[in-house]
Amino acid sequence: MATRKEHITFCHICGNHCALTAVVENGKLVEVKAGAGYPANMCSIQKGADHLIGTVNSPDRLTKPLRRVGEKGSGKWEEISWDEALDTIAEKLIDVKEKFGPEYVIMVLGEPKGMEFPFAQRFATAFGTPNTITPGNYCGVQSTEALRYTFGSRYIRARMEGNPGLVTIWGSNIAHTGGTFSQIGRNDLNRLIVGGDTKLVVIDPKNIELWPEKGMHAADADYWLRPRPSSDGILAMGFIKVIIDEKLYDPDYIEKWTVGFEELRQEVATFTLEEVEKLTWVPKKDIQEVARLMATVKPALIGNGNSLEGNIEAFQMARALAVLRGLIGSVNTPYGGLVDQIPPNYYPPGAFMMSDLKEKLKEYPRTPERTIGGSDFSIAAKFGYVPTQALVDALLTEKPYLPKVGLTFVNNPLLTYADSIATEEAFKKFELLVVSELFHTATTRIADIVLPAAVLSEYDGIAYWPAWFGNLRANVKVVDPPGEAWPDHKMVNELAKRVGLGQYFWEDEIMAMDYMLEPLGMTWEYFRDNVRYLHGESLYDPEKVIGYNTRSGKVQLYCEELAKSKVDPLPRFKDLVKPLMGPCEITESYPFIMTNYKSEVFMLSGYRGVKELRIKSPTPTVYMNPDAAKEQGFKDGDWIYIETFKGRIRQKLALQPGMHPKVVNVEFGWGDYGYEDANNNLLTEYSRPWDTATGCLTLRGLACKVYLAPDEGE
């Protein structure tokens, strides 16, 4: 008789992390729907379901460890056993550590999925390398650290239950790629939209779908502002200027609960709204009207996505948004739309990498001298990551030294790092490049050893990411991994044993999960079977301002501590215009501005070969305004080249009425399983200038030109 079993687990595909019900029949995953009884927003195009079903059932999964037999990049492999793979890697690690030092081994990480991130960080600490590369330099750190420096917490979330009167969605495709850093749930937003008492402002170059089932777009919001890509910091300063000049703030609150208002006031006197309009392309009238709404409608909240974190002033841009939130009193006040929360009490990744390994950190400190990128990135260093391009730079320039081994866990630098050509050249210089993956990718192609990874739902794991959402989820095993695929954290655990670090790791991974949950007084088994999901506890108080966990106890409009990290304590207009200069300046040869968007179907660059997803998104798509396209002689559906000073790519044109005529919005993440020439990182540059605080670099806002490309019959 057929067996049918339903499991509750969680989706890891976008920031919503919906609870899922996974239906397994005879050992095969056949259906995925919302996980009744637990929070779910569920994207209308059901990409969480497609990813999970498509991935676990895909015939293209990697199932055995592979060793390169031909030239690097030749795609010739032999299957080897796990023992052989791990012994080979361990031997090399020990050898490099002895001959050169542990820092010559680099951990290359992507967005955390399950437990691989804390395990890899812990391995780095125990082994003695300060070099864990993560995409923190353009994803999450700017926004969340700006909140921490301004309000003393990175756990700040939207108080949707408080029926906000104004919701601003800034640079986040909320219905498809997660509900901003503030967790604006789309179901809640939908109810507000119909309720009619909430004003909605969307700030985005793209006419994003707000409510796909309804066909509602950004253009249907009360305001849709379309700033020039990378000018968002200036726009935020424009709002701040209006609020200060028109005295729309609450003087009592400012006096009692903020520091640095005077400095801020002086800063906004250094520029005019006309300048803001000219630089941002947003009409002055709209800036004024929206600023007035922000300051006067209560509760108001501003939620942003990580698309703002793609330029050389990303941290100050995020600070400008945080300062704006502080100025209108929207955080931690009775009438505010945002509130701090206390996350569940577990050992977060930071504890994994440090708390009980203090003596290791003393032996191998994460100091600038030992770290790639040196002292360049003050906030990145505090956060425990090295920016991606610093690795590329070190490999190419061999400064401060030439790294020897790269251990890459389920991420694809050859498509996702700025400047794919330089990245490939750089990664080929590793003496040993190990890549754990679900499928072959551009990066496995040049690896020496490829390890088959299991995906969440093929093993038990705790999901905590993004840590600033303050929730914890039990991702349960619903099917077996294919062939010999292993979860990444198991790979790290076993490798640690083979390089003599067994005492810092665990007999098996379940014990590590027990350790993670120890402060909660639960074992993994208990959590999985009885709890499943924990969320942060809101600190909201309808009676009073609950205060701020900053050094001053107030909102730090001007933030003293930043000066100590050699970062300006105040976002400055003169700095925020820098992302519009150099290769981002419009010229006669490059008359458009390129920006890029994340796929609404795929998760970033991943899962490109999965047929369920490919059906829904068959071709790379670039958007332009219909009139601008017509002027170039383009028709809807034409293939066009998009070219920056760096290179060109080819994508299929879709017209989007209402888009700014100067903007060309290309799709990020293509390049695996065909369309190598559509890879958006052929347009970007890895070398300096970089955001000195966080290591961000220019991913959006580059000047470009567009022209017809051959249609290859796709």
Binding site: E31, V194, E213, E600
Partner: protein, 341 residues
């Protein structure tokens, strides 16, 4: 009248002729990467190659064309001490042809007609529409049209009805306008084997749909089981997201919201699709809520489709398109709910 047209002639000749006179709407996925086109959707068609006639279902239905969400009714504006009103509703300047509408969706238009038949803008748009329907090649995953008499064949509500018979379309006219179209030279007389091919196609789809749902059993069950505990079980899985209402071609509830400038010197009144699953839906003045409990809202939608409309209008208002189950995050399927009752 019955005729046939070769597919080539359909895409080249008929399309060109239609384009001259009409604005063409049809199923398409032309936008590639964007989620709007992750599923085929009814949209403007400029080029025949963008048409996806082999589609199974769309997420949004055609109701957006006749009863648009977020439609502005009028604008008001303070001028001195006076208030000026401007009508913002717009009539179509060009007639539209709707290509490839499936039988369930054709029936859904009749349901809309009952609700909005008195609205002159609505009727004007309906009069300016030429409906070229298309029968389904195979049953969609969760539809049950044959159980509610809305498919897989259609008897009325179209000007032309196409059936894919391999290298051509079998075309049946359903109106005078349809007849006139069929007199164009590229429509050829239907041979007996064409008629057979059509019947075979429809039989195949009909067979696939068989047994999906029994209307009689359901309507009688509903009459008796208002207080059944099964409702709790379904409601527990409902996220009250309203997706089912939005994608449903026959859900017509709306609210009227005001979109005003910050100082209220100017504003618009807009029609916004509402959802009976939302808590505020049955909120009355005096803070009295008719259906405060999630369960009663969940039940209401089903009773509205299968019970109240039957009692009041003699016909259920569900056309069995299956969208509500397809796009419900919990895949709550009316059929399953009914069969368990």
């Amino acid at each position: 009248m019955d005729k046939v047209i070769r597919k080539h002639d359909f895409l080249k000749l008929l399309f060109a002729d239609l384009k001259e006179k009409y604005h063409i709407i049809g199923p398409t996925r032309k936008g590639g990467g964007t989620s709007t086109y992750a599923y085929p959707t009814f949209d403007d068609i400029d080029r025949a190659i963008d048409l996806e006639m082999g589609y199974t279902t769309t997420m949004g239905s055609l109701k957006k064309l006749y009863f648009p969400d977020n439609e502005a009714l009028y604008q008001y504006q303070r001028v001195g001490t006076e208030v000026e009103l401007v009508n913002l509703r717009q009539a179509w300047d060009k007639e539209k042809v709707i290509l490839g509408l499936h039988p369930c969706d054709i029936s859904a238009l009749a349901v809309l007609d009952k609700v909005f038949g008195l609205d002159q803008y609505y009727t004007d748009k309906r009069n300016k529409s030429l409906i070229i329907g298309l029968t389904c090649d195979s049953a969609c995953s969760r539809g049950f049209c044959s159980s509610v008499n809305s498919g897989p064949d259609a008897q009325s509500g179209f000007d032309l009805l196409l059936t894919d018979i391999g290298d051509g379309y079998f075309c049946r006219s359903g109106s005078e306008r349809g007849e006139r179209l069929l007199s164009l030279e590229y429509f050829k007389a239907a041979a007996p084997e064409d008629i057979q091919a059509r019947a075979k196609k429809l039989q195949k789809t009909e067979d696939e749909l068989k047994g999906r749902f029994s209307l009689d059993e359901v309507t009688s069950a509903l009459a008796e089981k208002y207080n059944d505990s099964l409702w709790d079980e379904f409601a527990d899985k409902c996220y009250t997201c309203g997706a089912c209402n939005m994608v449903c071609p026959t859900c017509t509830c709306f609210t009227i919201n005001e979109k005003a400038k910050g100082d209220h010197s100017q504003g618009k009144r807009v029609v916004v699709w509402d959802s009976c699953h939302f808590e505020r839906f049955a909120q009355m003045a005096g803070n009295f809520n008719l259906r405060e409990e999630k369960k009663s809202r969940f039940k209401h939608r089903i009773y509205d489709k299968f019970h109240f409309s039957l009692v009041r209008q003699g016909k259920v208002s569900c056309v069995g398109c299956g969208r509500c189950a397809d796009f419900c995050p919990s895949h709550i399927d009316i059929r399953e709910a009914m069969s368990r009752l």
